[in-house]
């Protein structure tokens, strides 16, 4: 399997962090992203996700360590890397004054897409993202979901084989978020490698082939979703729902050496009551995340919302 990204001991230290102490935003991380996969990069706020993306996309110089992106060395070939990657930053920051169509054309001009192909590609992208009707509308006048979609379209305009998506669905309404998830899945089906950060664990679970969890600048886990779940589930658990003669309902969780043993134990505990349901309980990605970071998804989203408001206010 070919690799899209290889990272060795990548580190970023900011000279002045909190309390004037140097801040190790990213601390000696190693990981590999395979070609064609959706690689999730999860972690609480300030864990080092965006700093890692900034280093891998050439916006920030690593303090130490090495990385190769699409076969090119980050230290010596950053321009070649930039030509071949698409980046969707957390903010939808295209140009307010330019129309949807002109924003795409400008993106293609910067990447050297031949003039003869630009208009057709822009029309295709607008159609693909459901923005054909908005072709001549200035970016400033698009809805938040449309701005996000156009920002992603602009990152794809030069047809990069690797795309970095930083919180692509944050702040979107349900329908817009769902459409964007469909678009990400479609890109994966087309063979585009995707490096995705998100605060939505369900989204990561649904989209990602493998997930790395970063906490305080260090990667604490890296595996497939099932692999991550397996690390925190020591024994199978079944949940049995029972109802007595007066229809009082009780739910119990029973652990066993294997699923069959657990089910038998659950039935033994029925004591003549009706068994309404038996379900095997598997840990969710959120369970894994909570175990590894000590932070619940709700807290993480609340932090995120608070930061968004602070940004909007400042």
């Amino acid at each position: 399997m070919n690799t899209a990204i290889e990272v060795w001991q990548l580190t970023k230290v900011y000279p002045q962090g909190k309390a004037s102490q140097p801040l190790r935003a990213v601390d000696s991380i190693d990981f590999t992203v395979h070609e064609g996969e959706v690689f999730g990069f999860l972690g609480p706020n300030g864990a080092g996700k965006t700093t890692t993306i900034r280093m891998l996309t050439g916006l920030s110089r690593p303090t130490s360590g090495r990385a190769r992106v699409l076969g090119f060395d980050l230290a010596s070939d950053v321009t070649r890397i930039k030509k071949r990657i698409g980046v969707v930053p957390e903010a939808s920051n295209l140009y307010d004054e330019l129309s949807a169509f002109d924003n795409l054309i400008f993106a293609m001009q910067l990447y050297g897409v031949p003039r003869s192909e630009r208009a057709a590609r822009a029309r295709d992208l607008l159609a693909r993202f459901g923005l054909s009707e908005k072709r001549d509308i200035p970016f400033a006048k698009l809805s938040r979901g449309m701005k996000r979609a156009l920002t992603i379209a602009a990152a794809l305009a030069h047809r990069p084989p690797l795309v970095f998506l930083d919180e692509p669905t944050t702040g979107l309404d349900v329908m817009s978020a769902r459409n964007l998830r469909r678009m990400i899945a479609r890109l994966r089906d087309e063979g585009v490698t995707i490096f995705l950060t998100t605060h939505y664990l369900e989204e990561a679970e649904r989209l990602c082939d493998r997930i790395a969890i970063i906490v305080e600048g260090r990667i604490v886990a890296l595996d497939t979703v099932d692999g991550l779940k397996a690390t925190i589930q020591e024994a199978p658990v079944v949940e049995v729902t029972l109802a007595d003669a007066s229809n009082a309902i009780e739910t119990r969780r029973i652990e066993g050496n294997d699923v069959a043993t657990a089910v038998r134990a659950a039935l033994d505990q029925a004591d003549g009551r009706r068994v309404l349901a038996i379900n095997t309980i598997r840990p969710t990605l959120e369970d894994v995340f909570v175990r590894l970071t000590g932070l619940s998804a709700e807290v993480m989203l609340a932090e995120k919302a608070g930061r968004g408001q602070a940004n909007a206010g400042g």
């Binding site: 930053p89 400008f106 910067l110």
Partner: protein, 243 residues
């Protein structure tokens, strides 16, 4: 890589001119502001109007190049679109060169309009055209580099305007626009020698009034030096800020 940078510079200039510069309020501000100052001075001293032409052109270049450019750079930094440009295969000096050239093109366009009016009123006799063109180009480059430098050391748009005015307004009165530097007190002359506007006014005076290229060569060298130093400082500061 150089081809990527040159392409980036070209399209950044085009985009900035279209998105920001050539809007009616900017053009009217760029034209009216220097005329207002000169008119005020001319009413006070009606006989000296022709002598004010080099200063009028220098002021037009100064305000035309630096005003909008500083705002554009700070604005794009704040909303993240400046960084977005760096995601493309364009290196930071090329990005900033694009911003600088955008300011130059706008400033020189406005100045050209003022120059046409000057030629209609006073005629073109005795003008040393090569020196005039070089003086305008290098003045625009130096002032645009000044605008770029101002825009990278501040964080907010209003700070850029404040700092730019903090530099430009004293420069207007000390740079030989209204009063020749030679007739200033020695202490002020020392300050005037540290200001790019002084060299711009002197170079333009050599081209328009003296018609003597020899008098303007050192001024052109000084303007080129201001351009290089201010641009290098702007690149360095912006690189630190964006890292």
């Amino acid at each position: 890589m150089l081809a990527d940078d040159l392409r980036g510079v070209f399209y950044i200039v085009l985009k900035d001119l279209r998105a920001y510069y050539f809007k009616p309020p900017n053009i009217s501000w760029g034209l009216l502001f220097p005329f207002a100052f000169v008119l005020a001075f001319a009413i006070r001293n009606p006989g000296d109007v022709r002598d004010l032409v080099p200063g009028l052109l220098a002021l037009t270049v100064l305000f035309g190049t630096s005003s909008m450019e500083a705002i554009v750079i700070v604005f794009e930094r704040r909303i993240g679109s400046l960084e977005r440009l760096l995601l493309a295969p364009v290196r930071l000096p090329a990005l900033l060169a694009g911003k600088l050239l955008g300011g130059m093109v706008f400033g020189l366009t406005v100045t050209l309009a003022v120059l046409v009016i000057v030629l209609i009123v006073f005629g073109g006799d005795g003008i040393h055209w090569p020196l005039l063109i070089l003086s305008l180009l290098l003045s625009a480059a130096a002032f645009s580099a000044l605008g770029a430098f101002v825009s990278v050391v501040v964080k907010e748009v209003f700070e850029a305007q404040t700092l730019a005015n903090f530099i430009r307004f004293p420069m207007m009165f000390l740079g030989g626009v209204f009063v020749p530097v030679a007739s200033m007190p020695p202490a002020l002359q020392i300050i005037a020698r540290a200001l790019p506007l002084t060299y711009s006014v002197e170079a333009l005076r050599a081209a328009l009034v003296d018609s003597s290229p020899a008098n303007g060569v050192l001024d052109l060298v000084a303007l080129a030096a201001f351009t290089v130093v201010l641009f290098a400082l702007a690149v360095r500061v912006l690189a630190q800020r964006l890292d």
